[in-house]
Symmetry: C2
Subunit: 504 residues, 2 copies
């Protein structure tokens, strides 16, 4: 019985001893009836305190792996043979063969990887879709929690209703009221982020083979969800005014989709805004073809200039729009709070699906968001984030004007988090990703936003997540990488361009 | 244009005006070109400040619903006809017809209802499965957060990795190490509660029509998940020593299930503990038939007396066990943190599925739980919860001995949260649920824990969630209700019974 002890490790020594003896017993190396060394002797052998061995033996005894026998001391218990060891040697499971069809359709975790890289302080990241303003109301958060826990005790830490904390749903109704959306609390369910709202929509509306219409390009997370659901994803081309609604009717006619998924305002990844006329046309077609529209309005608050447009939900007169929104682009994305507003029968179905998925959203986070909404902390943060993001966008514009290449096309978005840049077709995007990372810059390659090919000559640059002072050097290095890959012949460092051309 | 103002309501008056005019315009009641009253005049008519009307008009102008024309004042904008209003009157969507097959399989929200009733202070609830000790470390929570936010800034409030906060995964490995389970952080993923772990397992392992084996009775939430996934659920009978493993082999042979779902320790709802011998036999069969076992170990910490048994995962030598556990039965269930430990390839697939479902678990909750584990707050809370729950269990035993009826069979569980009581077959359970609620007592009827009929003569009583002083009156009222339903002839108030009979 050869026991090795790692005194530098974090595992207490008695547990190391216990675990190794347990493994010997379960593997059959120590057979039933085997006499273990007396505690004092083993302690001497291993150079440990006797209590340490006593504790290890106590645990093994509690697990019924060893027992004390009169006249024999401590022995391996008689019913301890390794399960199955003698009968049939077990083979490792082939997990891949056990996977469901849905699992087989789940894509590689690109977003996970982006999130990981985004936290690396040695890289300049234009990859992550969040606002890093440096002015999060952290002190307010602590104050708020103190008050919540004082006033409500640990109720805010207990299980809560699947549809969400009622006061928060009331606050969300007032928030949406300010966005021109009338809704009652019964038409609202709290989500663990608006991503969950897309996923639950897929679960309650999609069967494998169903068709879904999306803008091309569109939010990568939505594509992942629809692919995993086995849906056939139909892309509609888009331009700077959002989805080309004029191309929509023949697709509705032909494919009879289960729903249309749209990010009409400050679209991810393109930064485009669906024009008011197109919003009306889109709803018209939805009514005509009896197709619901999932409106992903995560960026609702992030307008930096220009005129606000009503959301599809605000324009919708016939309950065809399933409205998703989130706090994550303004405030504490790690708390994972979003919501859905839709017709009551659909919200009831959402509640059933959410109960199955995770019972309910983190209670404390809901109480906090409710308090922030009621006391105007949220509204103040919206203003702060808008100001910070506007400055970052303007820095990005300046950097692109200064270091940009003639061959790289872009336009300054009126809101949201993204620049969508078109590169020369000749550029190898995989090579650019690698080259940029060498130069310490991360971004998201465009092709992932297309359901069925495309985007090889586009990249998405998020301007709100890097520190403001990183934007200029980041753009410089990225453009340097592009320049180098293009070679000296095909493009020269451009002078700042007077005119900015739309790219979509 | 008849505008009504509710001065007592929470909606600012200018928004009330704006919304009503918006509705008039979008419905077509105010046609394009219609001249709105001058601001001052409307203010006089409505008896409001002129600024109020100015603000309403400003919003409507921003939404492009009205415009100013020279010589005409303010008019309804020319492109504002209600979408689709003229062309084709929209009909409401028939949501039910749009639902997926999975949605159609989702059951009524019984657990939601239980959670709602469980929070009603006027009822004595034996329904909810949580520990309400009154000794939650709320002050510790605030202190911990203060330190986290001081040391890590708002990183703990940002997006984080899908697989979970690495330090927490390391802490979980140490916690499991104490349970005899060796695991590396790569074999662990953090969940939004262990319910999510069952749901994600269903998503990555089950296709409609696949077979799943469960104990009969078993956790209602798991049944909901497997039903929604379209699985065929095969029940194995169980007794006080847990699953009748001797009945398992023919089922494995015949049905070739995708996995076995088991709650071996302090089972929900039966309170049973799978014996060590049966644990070994279960693993043997899993190896022999190449079937994974999902071990739901939510109650791991809640042993009040008797000898601890190793978990299936601790006994598993061949990575067949998918181990789920949770903080929710010990500490702050509203924070929704659980975890899965399994073979690496399966955990990778879990990460893909979780990314699709909700990106990641609430970051702050993960940082808190990590800190609680490292500083021993969790271990202290385990001790406190065990002591409190043990006392509640003993109160329940005393109350059942005092007020129990001969016709009601039960046994005192060694741990967990539940008494499983068998009632006379002649009793109408629906009538009892109603009668008990009249008497102010809530419990969970047994039939919901059975996949395909059964349990009509059993009920689950949770002893840890009611206040200790409610247990005795709750049991008294419940037994009174049973007594009344049974009628005077069929049973009498029994004397305390010397012997307690197993019921399963």
């Amino acid at each position: 019985m050869n026991i090795e002890i790692d005194r530098a490790g974090s595992v207490p020594v008695y547990k190391q001893i216990r675990n190794q003896i347990r493994a010997f017993i379960l593997s059959g190396a120590l057979p039933p009836g085997y006499r273990l060394p007396p505690e004092r002797k083993l302690a001497d052998t291993l150079g440990v305190n006797r209590t340490t061995v006593l504790n290890a033996y106590r645990d093994l005894r509690a697990d019924a792996l060893i027992e004390s026998r009169v006249g024999q001391g401590t022995v391996v218990a008689s019913d301890c043979a390794a399960p199955g060891a003698a009968v049939n040697p077990a083979v490792p499971l082939e997990w891949r063969q056990l996977l469901s069809e849905s699992a087989a359709r789940m894509q590689q975790p690109l977003v996970s990887n982006v999130l990981k890289l985004a936290n690396r302080s040695d890289l300049i990241s234009f990859a992550a879709g969040f606002s890093a303003t440096g002015c999060d109301p952290v002190a307010e958060l602590l104050e708020t929690q103190k008050r919540i826990l004082r006033d409500y005790g640990s109720t805010a830490l207990q299980y809560s209703a699947t549809e969400g904390h009622l006061p928060l749903r009331e606050s969300l109704c007032r928030l949406m009221e300010g966005r021109g959306i009338p809704a009652t609390p019964e038409e609202v369910m709290v989500l663990a982020g608006s991503q969950q709202g897309i996923d639950l929509a897929a679960r309650i509306l999609l069967d494998p083979g169903d068709r879904v219409i999306v803008e091309e390009p569109t939010f990568f997370g939505a594509l992942q969800i629809f692919q995993a659901a086995g849906a056939r994803i139909i892309g509609v081309p888009s331009d700077r005014d959002g989805m080309r609604v004029d191309r929509l009717q023949p697709l509705l006619e032909r494919y009879k989709p289960k729903f249309i998924y749209s990010v009409p305002t400050f679209q991810n990844p393109s930064g485009s805004v669906l024009s008011l006329e197109r919003r009306r046309q889109l709803l018209d077609l939805a009514y005509q073809y009896h197709v619901p529209v999932i409106e992903d309005d995560a960026y609702a608050e992030l307008r930096y200039d220009g005129r606000a447009l009503p959301s599809l939900k605000a324009l919708d007169q016939h309950d065809h729009v399933i409205y998703l929104s989130s706090f994550s682009k303004v405030l504490f994305p790690g708390l994972r709070v979003g919501w859905v507003a839709a017709a009551r029968p659909l919200v009831r179905q959402y509640v059933l699906a959410k109960q199955i998925a995770d019972l309910h959203t983190n209670s404390l986070a809901q109480w906090i968001m409710d308090d922030f909404l009621r006391r105007g902390v949220y509204a103040g943060q919206v203003r702060a984030v808008r100001d910070a993001n506007r400055r970052s966008r303007d820095r990005m514009v300046a950097a692109l004007k200064r270091h940009g290449l003639k061959a790289v096309e872009w336009f300054p978005p009126e809101g949201g988090l993204y620049f969508w840049c078109r590169l020369p077709d000749s550029l190898d995007q995989a090579a650019l990703v690698a080259k940029a990372q060498e130069e310490g810059v991360v971004f998201v390659p465009g092709h992932i936003f297309y359901p069925a090919g495309g985007g090889q000559n586009s990249i998405r640059l998020s301007f709100a997540s890097p520190a403001p002072e990183q934007i200029e050097p980041g753009v410089r290095r990225l453009m340097g990488a592009i320049q180098e890959l293009l070679g000296r012949d095909s493009a020269g460092m451009g002078e700042p361009e007077g005119e900015i051309r739309p790219i979509l």
